[in-house]
């Protein structure tokens, strides 16, 4: 086991590239402040640098552990892509899937779980960047959609933690259509007046940003996460100039009004729990009754007798 392992700064990596993670080894050098950190200290600090608060990328399971109280029940764990396009680039997509399944222990780039956040039942979907860049294909689309439909049935809030390079190229237009499918389900969740909190982590780009990641009642970002639609390199190629410092980072998005708050990972659970308490999941009529006002719907309109 190496004592030091170089980490790359978490930044946009094209789908398929290996994710930068907390490296294995006893000691870790923070890519931001160069502090040498004892790996165990980093773990107990939710993989945030104790000196400069650099957020190391964490995996989908660690994310669930961070948000949920104790145990959770995983849903649709075994959904697996059948490679609908029979896609091959420099190697077959099937081989890429297999490699990712082996390295992550997941069947695709997301875990969906039911659990509780500070005692409040919730359904959490957590994306796994280590699985083909966290890309969204049909399995991710289907699992998120089922999560939302389950939440509507059970009247529970939905939390989605995004960590993704966008739609998965190897499933072509079917990946693209997952954006519409998920947003359609979110429309129903929205009209059912159930909470949806979107947590954006490094990186959240492409079709994930242009669909569910931007539609939270609250969009909460981790500090300095790369969040955008087009990747920085694509933009640079289009406009032929270098991008300003901090462009497409969480703080920039908050300044531009696209993200509601930027929250340190160590505060994340408390903030989410508070938001859920504020929002509640009562049916609209029940909520209105609790507040001591008449329910807004249904309104019975009495026609004037003269018009009858």
């Amino acid at each position: 086991m190496p004592w030091f392992k170089k980490t790359r700064k978490p930044m946009a990596a094209p789908a398929g590239e290996k994710a930068s993670r907390v490296p294995e080894g006893l000691w870790v050098k923070c890519p931001d402040c160069a502090q040498i950190i004892y790996n165990k200290d980093l773990t107990t600090n939710l993989n945030v640098c104790p000196k400069c608060a650099h957020h190391f990328r964490i995996n989908a399971t660690e994310r669930l552990r961070m948000l949920l109280d104790g145990e959770w029940v995983e849903h649709d764990k075994d959904l697996v892509s059948t490679d609908p396009l029979k896609f091959t680039d420099t190697k077959p997509y099937k081989a890429r899937l297999k490699a990712s399944i082996e390295s992550t222990g997941l069947k695709d780039a997301i875990i969906v779980a039911s659990g509780a956040i500070d005692g409040q039942p919730a359904i959490v979907a957590s994306m796994e960047y280590g699985f083909i860049g966290g890309s969204m294909g049909v399995v991710v689309g289907e699992k998120i959609t089922r999560a939302i439909e389950r939440a509507i049935d059970l009247r529970q809030p939905v939390i989605i933690v995004s960590c993704s390079g966008g739609a998965r190229m190897m499933e072509g237009a079917l990946s693209l259509m997952q954006m519409a499918k998920i947003c359609g389900a979110l429309a129903r969740l929205d009209r059912a007046r159930l909470p949806y909190i979107s947590i954006l982590t490094d990186p959240t780009t492409g079709g994930v940003t242009a669909s569910f990641a931007m539609l939270g009642d609250l969009n909460i970002a981790e500090p300095k996460a790369l969040i955008g639609f087009a990747g920085p390199r694509v933009i640079e190629q289009t406009i032929r100039q270098t991008l300003p410092e901090g462009f497409q980072r969480s703080e920039f998005l908050m300044e531009k009004g696209m993200v509601d708050l930027v929250v340190d990972r160590r505060e994340m659970k408390a903030i989410v729990a508070n938001a859920l308490r504020f929002m509640g999941t009562a049916r609209p009529a029940a909520a209105a009754a609790m507040a001591g006002v008449e329910p807004a719907v249904p309104i019975v309109v009495t026609e004037p007798a003269s018009q009858a």
């Binding site: 059948t82 396009l85 420099t90 049909v138 739609a167 190229m169 931007m214 639609f229």
Partner: protein, 324 residues
Amino acid sequence: MPAETLEFEEPIAVLLKEIDALTLLPRTDARDREIESLRRRIESVREELYRSLTPWQRVLVSRHPNRPGLHDYLDRLFRGFAEVHGDRRFADDHAIMAGFAEYRGQPVVVVGHVKGSDTKEKIFRNFGYARPEGYRKALRVMRIAEKFRRPIVVFVDTPAAYPGIESEERGVAEAIAVNLREMMLIDAPIVVIVSGEGGSGGALGIAVGDRVLMQEFAIYSVIPPEGCAAILWRDASKKVEAADALKLTAPDLLQAGAIDEIVREPIGGAHTNADAAARLLDEALARALTEISAVDSEVRLEKRYAKFRAMGRVGIDFVDESTA
């Protein structure tokens, strides 16, 4: 090679040159007959070529500079188009047009991308790359349609949403996302026509509807083949391979269940005969509008959701949760 022929149309270009040469000579009956026979040869060569286009060739056809766009269909199929500008937030985006028109005597809302035909218009239209304001304008005008119970006809033809600084700053991702959510609930019949390039999120951002029609030689893709090649092959010149792999042609999309119907084009593609392309589209559009307008709105919305909800099922091995 004449500007309007594509690289794979070389045999046609050669014949066109022969005709050009003949027309420069003094006219005789024999020469006229020769020109006429060359024209017929072009038709048969074209028919042959277009019967078996490769995916990459279809990409080229979908981007053909003479391919009929929104204006061409507005001129031929709609009457009295009244454009509505701006998103009432920031600006009027010129890559997406929206407005009211009459279709077969019925008031409808028309929304669509415009790439522009000459250099000046292309620049004005930003080559069909819409900024956030375009998507917000589209939704605003669709809301008007909903309010006044008018059907919506959408034309999709864009390389992508504009990947620029201001586009990101003003939230192009949010604009598209909101459209995807809200279009699923808009209580008006929506027919979408993918008429040229269906460029990923930039296309989908106005393309949620009750019927999604796709013209025969249009494409619809999660990423342009060049971009896919650059990322997966690390070599942008592998665009031909990428176009194959992405399954972005109309027959592929139909098979995947991502579109509802293919609209035939004249032999040689819509760009060879805009009138014929419009007639073929007219028939399909009228039928789709009639069918979805006949359904109660509650049923229509349920079906719209179910349609998109089912997309991708072909790509999943379903495992019953109770056994998992």
